[in-house]
């Protein structure tokens, strides 16, 4: 699952047809480039193509080809118009007026207009409890279609992170007539304005997308001004990693995110080109900050010092598929500030030991520490059954042992883990987040998410005030200052020890030409074509 999650944002950006570097002159007539197919791997079964009813990583990747949102996030993390040409925020910061693009049609032939946008967002509020952006839309007071091309969103309170949510694939615009024709069951009847349309959904096997020949509204920076060149895109379901590699070798798939161990082999293989990209998120080690003993910040700080992040990046990722993270906001996300490194609780065995000694965790004859009241100290780390999390846990166990702490590992299948962590059955928690917005704080570290997505159960009124301020502040400079303070506080209080930011290395068949890559590694498919 990890692999596809990591891959998703890059493809998504591409599918949403983001700005690419200025095109160089293209040789050959477009017509000669049309055709061919590209096959991707789906690590899990995509469940439904109803974008309001799922957060399934494969489904959301596919949304990116079929549906288009109003705006997209550019490489420099600024927002640009996609189905919207421009927008304006009212003086009280509570209303956003979008001017919509003209001449856009859905793949069922119906026109794109403000009514369709209104219809889509109202449906999201009505049926979208399973959508990751549902909560944000609870802040919407009303949606208005002023005229054919003017759409207004009225919010209950100002919201800075709403632009992030509006650019995700989950905020794609639906064709109202198609939704009505399908009697609201659009799980297999997805119709959008995107460069591709659904051709075939073979349960458990493959999803086939077909080029939208009528597509003619790509962002200005693409050389290709019309429909995409590649005739068909396929998502083939292959859950088993070893089989995915075999399928890549056998030429059954063209695109695959690689693990560190495979990198050398595929780099040397002339049939593939390796593309790098960052992921908008990081993996952290969390402490259950509500319950003893880890409600004590000193204990969290001491154990944070025992973590050797570079060893994790070296052993698990061979220094290639991850970068050490200092701070809660990943390097790839707006709000990251290298100056925060000064506050990092870096690897320091002596300080870790001294901290534990000071708290009364004394080592016994076997070198393992006991709690101050003399019981064996065996904190339990909860994490998923993923291979990567297993490997990191194994290393953490060894690193903790070096300071005399006998870490226990409990790996739980995803659903059980989701159920266990809000109930605070764990002492430590290893997980990652993927959210390209500094407001990730309000999801993962705020008080009102303690029984749900705040899985370290950390609640600090001081941080809470900063999180609130960050959500409603629309001035970029001031907002980033707030997140600097929020990060500093988090790093000192140590509910999280950020570990690393994943880096994607994707092997892509060299038959795919003119695939462009942005500075952060995003892949841009709209100019790409397949050499026959």
């Amino acid at each position: 699952m990890n692999r596809i999650v990591r891959l998703a944002p890059a493809l998504l950006l591409a599918a949403a047809a983001c700005a690419a570097p200025a095109p160089t002159g293209q040789g050959g007539t477009p017509a000669s480039k049309v055709g061919g197919s590209v096959t991707f791997v789906a690590t899990t079964d995509p469940d439904t193509l109803d974008l309001h009813q799922t957060s399934n990583p494969v489904s959301s990747t596919i949304f990116g080809w079929i549906y288009e949102p109003l705006i997209y996030q550019d490489l420099d993390n600024t927002y640009k118009g996609l189905l919207a040409e421009s927008w304006a925020v009212s003086s009280d910061n509570r209303a956003i007026t979008f001017k919509l693009r003209k001449g856009v049609t859905f793949t069922d032939g119906s026109p794109f207009n403000a009514e369709a946008v209104k219809f889509t967002f109202e449906r999201l509020v009505r049926v979208g409890a399973k959508s990751p952006i549902f909560e944000t839309f609870k802040n919407i007071a009303s949606a208005e279609a002023k005229d054919e091309t003017t759409f207004v969103l009225n919010m209950k309170e100002p919201s800075a992170p709403i632009f992030h949510d509006l650019q995700t694939a989950y905020a794609g615009i639906l064709s109202p007539s198609a939704v009505k024709a399908a009697n609201d069951n659009i799980g297999r009847a997805a119709v959008g304005t995107g460069p591709y349309k659904l051709k075939e959904f073979q349960t458990g096997q493959q999803i086939t997308l077909e080029r939208n020949a009528d597509y003619k509204w790509p962002p200005a920076l693409f050389a290709n001004r019309g429909a995409p060149y590649i005739q068909e895109l396929r998502y083939r379901v292959i859950p088993e990693p070893a089989t995915q590699l075999a399928a890549l070798d056998a030429g059954e798939v063209d695109v695959l995110g690689l693990a560190a161990k495979d990198l050398a082999r595929y780099s040397a293989d002339g049939r593939f080109k390796i593309y790098d990209s960052f992921t908008y998120g990081l993996t952290y080690l969390g402490f259950d900050a509500k319950r003893p003993p880890f409600d004590n910040a000193k204990l969290r700080q001491a154990l944070s010092r025992a973590v050797n992040k570079s060893e994790i990046v070296q052993v698990v990722f061979e220094n290639k598929l991850a970068k050490v993270s200092c701070c809660p906001i990943a390097e790839s996300i707006q709000g990251y500030d290298p100056k925060l490194k000064d506050f990092e609780l870096g690897y320091d065995v002596a300080k870790a030991k001294a901290g534990l000694d000071e708290l009364g965790y004394k080592a016994g004859a076997d070198g393992l520490r006991a709690t101050p009241d003399g019981k064996p100290f065996k904190p339990v780390l909860y994490t998923s059954t993923s291979d990567t999390h297993g490997k990191i846990s194994t290393l953490l166990q060894a690193q903790f042992k070096a300071v005399g702490v006998d870490l226990q590992i409990k790996q739980l299948e995803a659903g059980a883990l989701l159920a266990a962590t809000p109930k605070a059955e764990h002492d430590l928690y290893l997980n990652g987040y993927s959210w390209n917005e500094p407001d990730m704080f309000s999801l993962f570290l705020s008080c009102d998410r303690i029984a749900s997505s705040n899985r370290v159960l950390y609640c600090n009124p001081e941080l809470e005030a900063l999180i609130r301020a960050g959500r409603t502040e629309l001035d970029q400079g001031k907002r980033m200052k707030i997140y600097f303070d929020a990060q500093k506080l988090t790093m000192q209080e140590a509910p999280w020890q950020p570990l690393y930011m994943p880096v994607s290395k994707t092997a892509i068949n060299v038959k795919i030409q003119d695939l462009k890559q942005g500075q952060a590694g995003g892949l841009y498919w709209h100019d790409a074509w397949v050499k026959q």
């Binding site: 469940d47 089989t243 056998a250 059954e252 266990a420």
Partner: protein
């Protein structure tokens, strides 16, 4: 005979009821409900509660069970919580692939297993016997997933004869069928051999050898029919088990079968789908048992039904 079949079908009902109650209890024990999983790791408590209500999970368990039975009476297994499609439809899409694998594996393993068993029996004590039984016991001892991976490495990657994944061409059926057949072929080879020997008896065999070739064949054919009775039982049991889907093999080959659907349903806490697949497997198992018993009667007229 018709009456016997009817009685067996009626007797199967309490078993199916037991299975469905067992699934319900199992579901209750699994931590995490569909709402938590559907909402994902960024959801708020509100969101989870809302989904829970939409799915009727805020009702007491007995009420949920009664609703399930009520739906069943109307011929519906309910809707998948994840895809919002009829559970029967979900299963119907996957079942042909599982059925194809099961038929293929049962056929291949029976042909190979019974063949090897006969070979061993008529060569009893000689090299042919030792070699075939050696192969059979090694076959019983190798993990199936290992065979599948070696199969991919050799036939897909090194020789380029067979595709790695999917179920699109007839070639893609070969590796999963072979991997699934190894174990059952080994079991059947061993059973065929021992029951052949039991039927033939040493004296019998010696007499047959002393006589001409044609008569030996006659005796063998006669012996084989009787020897096949216990093999039939095994074929039925294995077929029933295979219809439940083979999760590990389906996972390795990316096969769109029922096994993967069921396990995915557990991971997604898609309870109607779990309930549906388990009931399907139970029905398949009970039916194949019935067919076996009927075949028994046909093979062995001494058995009578009351």
């Amino acid at each position: 005979m018709g009456r016997y079949v009817l009685r067996r079908l009626v007797l199967a009902l309490p078993v199916l009821l037991g299975v469905s109650v067992a699934v319900f209890l199992m579901i209750e024990l699994v931590p995490g409900d569909p709402a938590t999983v559907l909402a994902g790791d960024t959801a708020s408590a509100d969101q989870v509660e809302r989904i829970r209500h939409e799915l009727g999970l805020d009702q007491p368990l007995p009420v949920q069970y009664l609703r399930f039975v009520e739906r069943l009476a109307h011929g519906s297994l309910g809707e998948s919580t994840r895809t919002h499609r009829e559970v029967l439809l979900e299963i119907a899409e996957r079942f042909p692939y599982t059925l194809a694998l099961a038929l293929g594996a049962v056929t291949l393993s029976t042909v190979v297993g019974v063949g090897l068993g006969i070979l061993a029996a008529i060569n009893r004590g000689r090299a042919g016997d030792h070699v075939t039984m050696g192969i059979a016991i090694v076959g019983l001892s190798v993990p199936t997933f290992l065979l599948a991976i070696v199969g991919i490495i050799v036939f897909s990657l090194a020789l380029h004869w067979l595709p790695v994944t999917g179920a699109r061409t007839w070639q893609s059926y070969i590796l999963p069928i072979v991997a699934l057949s190894l174990h059952s072929a080994a079991v059947k080879a061993r059973i065929t051999r021992s029951s052949m020997l039991e039927v033939l008896g040493q004296e019998y065999l010696r007499t047959a050898r002393a006589k001409g070739l044609r008569e030996r064949l006659v005796i063998l054919r006669h012996a084989l029919k009787n020897a096949l009775i216990p093999v039939t039982t095994i074929v039925g049991l294995q077929f029933g088990a295979l219809l439940g889907g083979a999760f590990i093999i389906e996972n390795i080959f990316g096969w769109p079968g029922v096994g993967r659907l069921a396990v995915q349903a557990i991971f997604n806490r898609d309870f109607p789908l779990v309930q549906g697949t388990v009931l399907l497997v139970a029905v398949a198992y009970l039916l194949s048992n019935l067919v076996v018993d009927v075949l028994y009667a046909w093979l062995d007229p001494r058995i009578r039904y009351g």
